[in-house]
Amino acid sequence: MLDAVILEKAGIPAIPVITDAFGSTAREMADLWGVPGFRFVMMPHPLASLSPDTIEHRADELVDKVLQLLQEGQPA
């Protein structure tokens, strides 16, 4: 989340992908950085145990949503 907020502040569009267990943590970081409406995509937890194939599949599932949010942009 922090990386995405910093990238956006540097003018580089970014949409972070967060596992749903960390939703509150992501929102807290956004609040801390003064961007409470910062948009991110959530996916099921956990991530660390997924096989490379499953991660590829997960990425395929999420990519359209990420692209859509990238095109819409973060709130001003």
Binding site: F22, S24, E28, A48
Partner: protein
């Protein structure tokens, strides 16, 4: 932080607690404590703390850019008072806060990790003896005000200044008892080698703190010779469930008196010991697959192929503390999946009472 037992604060009216119990409850109600009662931070006590550290209230002890916070001396002093510190502990607490801010420590990685590591404050130099920071019997176990309150102050800073709140930004699955407080001094008198801070470029008469994040503490009991002892320590640093096994986060080992004496008698240098321990952190690829630490079926050659939990022996912190008796050492495996976090550089303690 959930709170179902503390009465709500009155809204829309001045709340000036008078009795000690009211003051303690006042702090609880605001979520300022770690679960234990805190000492109410009155102006007088905070000013004494600042004076002992040689700080003005607005002095910035450390900038924490990831948390958008510049931690001032006044905020550190308030938390040190709440933790129960004596004023003369302030320079140590301030140095520990600087350790949190060191990029190498990786604050957010440590403080938000699921593995919920203990942050251990290791104190070196003459200030330890002057302040009574325990380095001997029960060094991790409590009983000394300096150890208990300096460690607690750092964790209150994490909670109150850096907003690492359980369940929100502090995502520890279990946490560890050491998250409440953990501070010890290195025993520099009964020591087979030069102390940690001298090894890292400080003078022996300088006082320092170093922060180490450890996922757990493992006691190694061993009455063997020095090689057998170091084999057992390598095993503890590389157990198959260790979260640091693949990430190779630097760990630490604390040798108590009997083991320190054994190692002194071996004639081995610290470097040789580190390299030997690192060699003992080998696990077979077959074992890593058998326990799900690596994906895939066990293949021919996996029993012989090796993964080393420590591949840079020079990163391994070796210090001495604990009782003179007991064939025990304490192994502190690293906390996470990255080599790039979990230990601060050696931070020199500054302040008017360190001379």
């Amino acid at each position: 932080m959930s709170d179902t037992t503390t009465p709500p604060l009155p809204e829309g009216e001045a709340c000036v607690p008078v009795s000690v119990s009211e003051q303690v409850e006042f702090c609880y109600a605001r979520g300022w404590t770690d679960g234990l009662p805190v000492v109410p931070a009155t102006r007088l006590l905070v000013d004494d703390m600042l004076e002992a550290g040689g700080y003005r209230p607005a002095d910035v002890i450390a900038n924490m850019p990831s948390r958008k916070v510049a931690v001032t001396a006044e905020k550190v002093a308030i938390n040190a008072v709440m933790a129960g510190c004596r004023p003369e502990y302030m320079p140590v607490v301030a140095a520990a806060v600087k350790g949190l801010a060191a990029p190498a420590f990786g604050l957010h990685h440590v403080a938000s990790a699921l593995s919920g590591p203990t942050i251990i404050i290791v104190v070196n130099g003459p200030i330890a003896k002057r302040l009574g920071i325990n380095s001997t019997n029960n060094a991790f176990g409590g009983g000394e005000r300096a150890n208990a309150t300096i460690g607690r102050a750092l964790h209150l800073v994490l909670l109150n200044c850096l907003r690492y709140r359980p369940g929100i930004s502090d995502r520890a699955t279990f946490g560890t008892p050491g998250k409440m407080t953990c501070c010890l001094a290195e025993n520099e008198e009964d020591h087979p080698w030069e102390p940690w801070h001298v090894e890292r470029g400080c003078r022996a008469d300088e006082s320092t703190v170093t922060l180490v994040a450890a996922s757990t503490m493992i006691q190694v009991w061993n009455y063997g010779n020095h090689e057998q002892l170091l084999c057992a320590i390598g095993d503890a640093l590389s157990y198959l469930g260790s979260i640091a096994l693949l990430g190779r986060t630097p760990g630490a080992v604390v040798f108590a008196g009997e083991h320190a004496e054994l190692l002194r008698g071996s004639g081995w240098s610290k470097r040789r010991m580190r390299e030997f321990i690192a060699e003992q952190t080998a696990r077979s690829i077959a074992d890593l697959k058998r326990t799900g630490r690596l994906d895939g079926a066990i293949a021919p050659g996996d029993d012989a192929a090796r993964h080393y939990a420590i591949d840079t022996p020079e990163d391994l912190m070796l210090i001495c503390a604990g009782s003179p008796i007991g064939a025990l050492s304490m192994v502190l495996p690293g906390f996470g999946s990255s080599k790039t976090a979990g230990r601060s550089p050696v931070i020199r303690i500054e302040g008017p009472r360190t001379a």
